[in-house]
């Protein structure tokens, strides 16, 4: 299954990646190979298997509504490339 160039562009945009023409070509063939490989799964007969969203045999894992500790502001912001007062600062968002 060959991915078209526009499909690669769409995926790149969703991931906020800027690709060169060469990269688009390269990823198109690489992604196609990955998809082909995954396609193998369809060879299995799964009519008798329930759809699974989780492989761990657990359900209903809860926490009680009890206050825990939050991070000090400076620690929370310590990875931020830019901050202003106690805010993260990011490039201007244009809607």
């Amino acid at each position: 299954m060959k991915l078209s160039s526009s499909e690669v562009e769409h995926i790149a945009h969703l991931a906020r990646l800027r690709l060169t023409e060469e990269e688009k070509e390269l990823y198109s063939s690489q992604l196609s190979k990955i998809l082909d490989y995954i396609e193998k799964l369809n060879e299995l007969d799964t009519t008798e298997v329930d759809p699974t969203s989780h492989v761990i045999p657990l359900k209903n894992v809860f926490r009680e509504d009890v206050l825990g500790e939050s991070l000090p502001v400076d620690e929370a912001l310590s990875n931020a490339p830019q901050r202003e007062d106690s805010f993260y600062k990011v490039p201007k968002i244009i809607d």
Partner: protein, 473 residues
């Protein structure tokens, strides 16, 4: 051509939990920016979200109150998109298996009952908050991870008025359940509307627009009215409606296009691998059902049947659970239901409005009102004086007996004392006496007024009336 509107609402309600949906950070509103975050809600690698049990309980409660089917099996999904207020790059939400489905809420508009279908109710986390500046945007993640309930209605609503009635009803139910404070202005209750129009009598839906940013109850109606007019105008001029998202602008009273994004949203939902599935047993649902308060519709009907209240009174008294319970407490303390209702609907609600306070924040208690009604009933004070006493009680929280005593408001029923006042008034107004005797009997009111004034409102009006008639006949 006559058009009919088709409206469906999508409501986000912030849940009144202490902590966020997947971590122990506080949900408190108005704290300093980024003081209520932790590695889970700011999306640090290697952390695991754990579901807040109360969020599930609140969602089930709401589902039951809105006559939904509660799913025995439910799970969370990732909704993927990039935005600076979304630290993980995805929002944990529910997609194909929401916790509640297929319910309804009844509303009454202009005396006509309408049923609005509830498509689904699901749980999700809120995003953070952005503040836009000239040279950049600031991000506060205190709100990231605050639990939300998304409630989606069927396109069953046919007018802006019905939409507003639905929102009020929804707010009432959420507040009765104690799951959301219903404050649209502060954003704890948000409403987006899908609107289209179609020729009256036809079945096929027209092209819809989505209206966002409706941030007050009074704007629900106004925003929809504007949008429907806009769509009718386009169709009447031979144009076509474009499917798009439009923002309600309070300042201009219009909706404006958000510049329709070329690319359709592609959220690539998939089951959230960090959370295990949710199984809700019948026992759990029953346990939650048992813990639910009497709902607004039930209460309203009971007020009508049990207390003989008019529908109008019952509607208003049951809009807020705290008001309804205050009323019931007065009745339990022995007051006549309709009397209590009259005082609450006029004196009490007006003063609550003026003071901007909630009923549990005031000094006045049900016992005070009941005692006041007794004083009026047994003739100690007149109804008019009663209003002054009420005002005093509302302000100070003192008992009516004490106020009546301290201010010397006890009604004068002593005939000789009133007789003296009547005589004074008659002597002071010879002209009016003449006219009265010549048949201008409506002047009786004037004399009564004068005597009441002379007695500072304390004379028993019935006695005053009788005495004046007698003296002037």
């Amino acid at each position: 051509m006559k058009y009919e509107a088709v409206i469906g609402l999508e409501i986000h309600a912030q849940l009144l939990t202490e902590t966020k949906i997947f971590c122990g950070c506080s949900t408190r509103f108005g704290s300093e920016p980024n003081t209520q975050t932790c590695p889970v809600c700011i999306g640090m690698p290697g952390v695991l979200p754990v579901l807040n049990r109360r969020v599930v309980e609140f969602a089930i409660k709401t589902g039951l109150a809105m006559n939904c089917k509660i799913s025995s099996y439910s799970r969370f999904a990732r909704k993927n998109y990039f935005y600076p207020d979304l630290p993980k790059g995805y929002q944990i939400s529910q997609y194909e298996l929401p916790i509640c489905e297929n319910g309804y809420v009844d509303i009454t508009v202009d005396g006509v009952k309408r049923r609005v279908g509830i498509t689904r109710i699901h749980m999700e986390e809120d995003a953070g908050k952005n503040i836009h500046q000239k040279d950049g945007s600031l991000v506060d993640l205190n709100r990231a991870g605050v639990p939300l309930m998304e409630i989606v209605t069927e396109p069953d609503i046919r007018s802006p008025k019905e939409a507003a009635a639905f929102m009020r009803k929804l707010r009432t139910i959420l507040r009765y359940l104690g799951v959301c404070d219903g404050n649209m202005e502060q954003g704890s209750l948000r409403c987006d509307a899908n609107v289209s129009i179609r020729p009256e009598g036809t079945e096929e839906f027209g092209t819809k627009t989505e209206i966002k940013n409706i941030n007050s109850f009074k704007f629900v109606e106004r925003a929809l009215e504007y949008e429907i007019k806009r769509q009718i105008k386009i169709l009447n001029e031979g144009g076509k409606i474009i499917q798009e998202t439009r923002l309600w602008n309070v300042d201009t009273g219009t909706t404006q296009s958000m510049r329709s994004k070329e690319e359709a949203h592609d959220y690539r939902y998939f089951p959230e691998p960090d959370l295990v599935p949710l199984e809700v047993s019948k026992e759990w649902i029953e346990e939650i059902r048992q813990s639910m308060p009497e709902l607004p519709d039930e209460k309203r009907n009971r007020f009508i049947e049990e207390f003989g209240l008019p529908e109008y009174d019952a509607d208003i008294l049951t809009e807020e659970r705290t008001i309804a319970e205050w009323f019931e407490e007065c009745v339990r303390l022995g007051a006549k239901p309709k009397e209590v209702s009259n005082w609450m609907l006029t004196e009490l609600l007006r003063r609550l409005n003026e003071s901007g306070k909630e009923i549990h924040e005031i000094a006045l208690t049900p016992q005070h009102l009941v005692d006041l009604l007794k004083l009026i009933d047994n003739g100690t004070i007149s109804r008019n004086i009663g209003k002054n006493v009420f005002s005093e009680m509302f302000a100070s929280g003192q008992s009516p007996e004490k106020i009546v005593q301290e201010k010397g408001l006890v009604q004068i029923t002593d005939t000789s004392e009133i007789e003296k006042m009547v005589e004074d008034v008659i002597q002071a107004n010879p002209k009016e006496v003449e006219r009265y005797k010549n048949g201008e009997t409506k002047l009786l009111g004037f004399f009564v007024g004068q005597v009441m004034k002379a007695s500072k409102g304390k004379a028993n009006p019935k006695v005053v009336n009788e005495l004046i008639r007698k003296k002037l006949s």
